[in-house]
């Protein structure tokens, strides 16, 4: 789960990580009130969406008067912001953050993620703040300092020293401030089961203080149960409505650009099915994992969500029945076709336990637009052909 910048900054404040003063607004009127309360003389009007690259997309503006705060707020609030992380459809801006301006001398980068290879959190810092860290990693990897911290020992002095000397911070007072900030960030990461925290940029002011000018945070979904205060920060308007609806029924769904809807049990096989459709010259319309216990209700819901996408010209149901018997799934599919109006060709491949019985059930039901397939390759080929004919 991701949260907004203004929420991340509330959490930073709790851990003593300095941020500029700011207030969230959901209307232009509130934005102006916030600006007056902050006092000025300069303000930053920032779109609050769950995606990076807001500045380049026109979602962050520097205002030098209250009139400008009003003008920029009117422009940004309600706009559909397109950045390299939103996809071409962009994201509707429903919240603004009005923040006091900062005295920027240097821009740094500071973040924490899980290092999957070392199996511990790794703190990443760079002098190249304000740029996409992926680009820095690609173009000048030597400019990223990585310090892995074993949770068994926690954040130690040497971790801090590796960071400040790596960044070339020589002033002792500045070193102390930076190390304190990095230690706080590590504590925040661990205590809240964060998945990723990014401060980009972390600015050094003229007086040698470090301030988090931006904040991005994501949390481990599996751990949200023990962090109700984090979960309460969820903004469902930022999440894909179909993905969210699917998850309420235990389905895992991701929409894609193509024409062939996929309904599969298991995440790996679901990806493998998309890959096979692509390999055979078709285009997958979605990833959909119906989970281990596919039944009539989940299959019906799956059809419903897939068919919301008007581009879908055929559906490929690919189930490898293990513990769940295929004959049961076949009956589930028949029931589902009664619950939902499935108006495109459906190709069904059921393999595994009781597969012959399942094929028999589908054959006897003889539904006009349901075709059986013998295996994955056969099913994918039939789905691709059906989509091309439509």
């Amino acid at each position: 789960m991701n949260i907004h910048e203004y929420q991340a900054k509330q959490i930073f404040a709790k851990y003593g990580i300095p941020t500029p003063k700011g207030l969230m607004a959901e209307s232009v009127k509130q934005a102006v009130i916030n600006a007056e309360e902050l006092g000025g003389p300069i303000w930053v009007v920032k779109a609050q969406i769950h995606a990076g690259g807001r500045g380049l997309g026109g979602g962050v503006k520097l205002a030098k008067s209250i009139d400008e705060v009003k003008k920029f707020s009117e422009e940004i609030l309600g706009m559909t912001l397109v950045t390299h992380q939103t996809g071409p459809e962009g994201k509707l801006v429903q919240k603004l953050y009005i923040e006091e301006g900062a005295d920027i001398k240097d821009e740094l980068y500071l973040g924490i993620v899980l290092d999957r290879a070392r199996e511990m959190p790794v703190i990443m810092a760079s002098t190249e703040g304000g740029m996409a860290i992926e680009d820095v990693a690609h173009d000048t990897p030597e400019k990223i300092i990585k310090v892995a911290v074993d949770p068994a020992i926690g954040f130690q002095g040497f971790h801090g020293r590796e960071l400040v000397f790596g960044l070339g911070i020589t002033d002792k007072a500045e070193q102390g401030k930076f190390i304190k900030l990095a230690a706080a960030l590590y504590k925040l990461y661990l205590e809240n089961d964060a998945e990723m925290i990014e401060i980009n940029p972390l600015v050094k002011t003229g007086s040698g203080d470090f301030i988090a000018l931006d904040g991005k945070m994501g949390f481990d979904d599996s751990a949200l149960g023990r962090h109700p205060e984090i979960e309460s920060m969820r903004d469902i308007s930022e999440e894909d409505a179909d993905e969210r609806e699917a998850s309420q029924y235990g389905l895992s769904y991701v929409s894609l650009d193509g024409e062939i809807g996929c309904m599969v049990n298991g995440a790996g096989l679901a990806m493998g099915t998309m890959d096979t459709i692509n390999y055979m010259g078709g285009t997958p319309a979605n990833f959909l994992d119906v989970g281990g216990s596919a039944n009539a209700e989940t299959v019906a819901k799956g059809f419903e969500i897939i068919l919301k996408n008007p581009k879908v010209k055929a559906i490929f149901v690919n189930i490898f029945g293990g513990i769940v018997r295929c004959d049961r799934i076949a009956n589930g599919i028949l029931e589902a076709t009664k619950l939902v109006d499935v108006h495109v060709p459906v190709i069904v491949r059921l393999d595994g336990t009781n597969a012959p019985e399942a094929a028999e059930i589908l054959r006897n039901a003889n539904i006009a637009n349901v075709t059986s397939a013998t295996d994955l390759a056969d099913g994918a080929a039939k789905a691709v052909a059906a989509a091309k004919q439509a």
Binding site: L269, M280, F320
Partner: protein
């Protein structure tokens, strides 16, 4: 021969009397797995599925001599269960539970490693040595005995792969579902040398997916140390960047962990890489006829 588990392996079940634990323990017993007991706190001294129930793993190990534990406890208790198993001297813990917090698994795995306990999973189908010992939730009937070792992050792709191998007239020695979480136990590079050393295994199928770099590590290892033929499939060639595809670890983040880079690394290591999982069986037949 096989790897890790066989017909003599003594297994206990943590979370034995729960709904999932009961159902799958019964299936494993029916397959022939030597389940010698289980652990459910406050149910010690009772019997379940005809096997003794213990309050602690230590008691279970002392009384039964079990060396492997199959873990079905709810996600919030997984780390505790894994550490208890390690502390009690269990040699291999197979963690089936899905949805354990990453931070918990980090701590649990570090502790397990310290106690020389191997782990498989979490969020995986488990391990099966065909026609001898099934520790997990896979449909045993697919896994006919044979000479192909299988390692997979995905449950249903394990079944798909095994099924194709069998349909081509071959069989499985041992299949291991390693799970697709960000932190997992045994991975490709741990299991590959075991299959290399197993005389019953003649070829290895490895099934990976987007996210992380375990497949890249595996490629480097194969190049240096594996002489048996390897067939690989990487799921998620068509997955969009930055989107989590079902498994917690299946995400291309910051442009890293793509299927393309993994496939290229494996190919460079001499692995027969297939573009569709539908070709796994045929590829196995091909590498064995070389």
């Amino acid at each position: 021969m096989s790897i890790l588990v066989n017909k003599d392996t003594k297994v206990i079940v943590q979370g034995f009397t729960g709904k999932e634990g009961s159902f799958h323990a019964e299936q494993c017993l029916a397959y022939g797995t030597k389940i010698v007991g289980g652990v459910t706190p406050n149910k010690g001294g009772t019997e379940h599925l005809g096997k003794p129930v213990f309050n602690t793993v230590k008691e279970a190990v002392a009384s039964t001599g079990a060396t492997v534990s199959m873990i079905f406890v709810p996600p919030a208790f997984v780390a505790d269960a894994v550490m208890e198993a390690a502390d009690a001297g269990i040699e291999l813990a197979v963690i089936i539970t899905e949805g354990a917090p990453v931070r918990d698994m980090q701590a649990a795995k570090a502790y397990a490693t310290k106690h020389s306990m191997k782990t498989i999973g979490p969020n995986c189908p488990g391990i099966i040595t065909a026609e001898e010992c099934k520790i997990g939730i896979m449909p045993g009937v697919i896994f006919k005995k044979g000479n192909i070792g299988l390692i997979s992050k995905s449950g249903t792709l394990t079944y798909e792969g095994a099924n194709q191998v069998v349909k081509q007239g071959f069989g499985i020695s041992t299949a291991v579902g390693i799970g697709g979480d960000p932190i997992i136990g045994l991975s490709y590079k741990d299991l590959l040398p075991m299959f290399e050393a197993d005389p019953e295994t003649h070829a290895i199928v490895m099934i990976g997916e987007i996210g992380g770099d375990l497949e890249i590590q595996a490629a480097a290892f194969i190049k240096e140390h594996i002489t048996k033929p390897v067939v690989a499939f990487i799921a998620g060639q068509t997955a969009p960047k930055g989107k989590r595809m079902g498994h917690a670890g299946a995400i291309v983040s910051g442009g890293a962990g793509t299927a393309a880079e993994k496939m290229a690394a494996l190919e460079a290591a001499g692995v027969k890489v297939v573009v569709s999982p539908a070709d796994i069986g045929k590829a196995v037949a091909e590498v064995l006829s070389r």
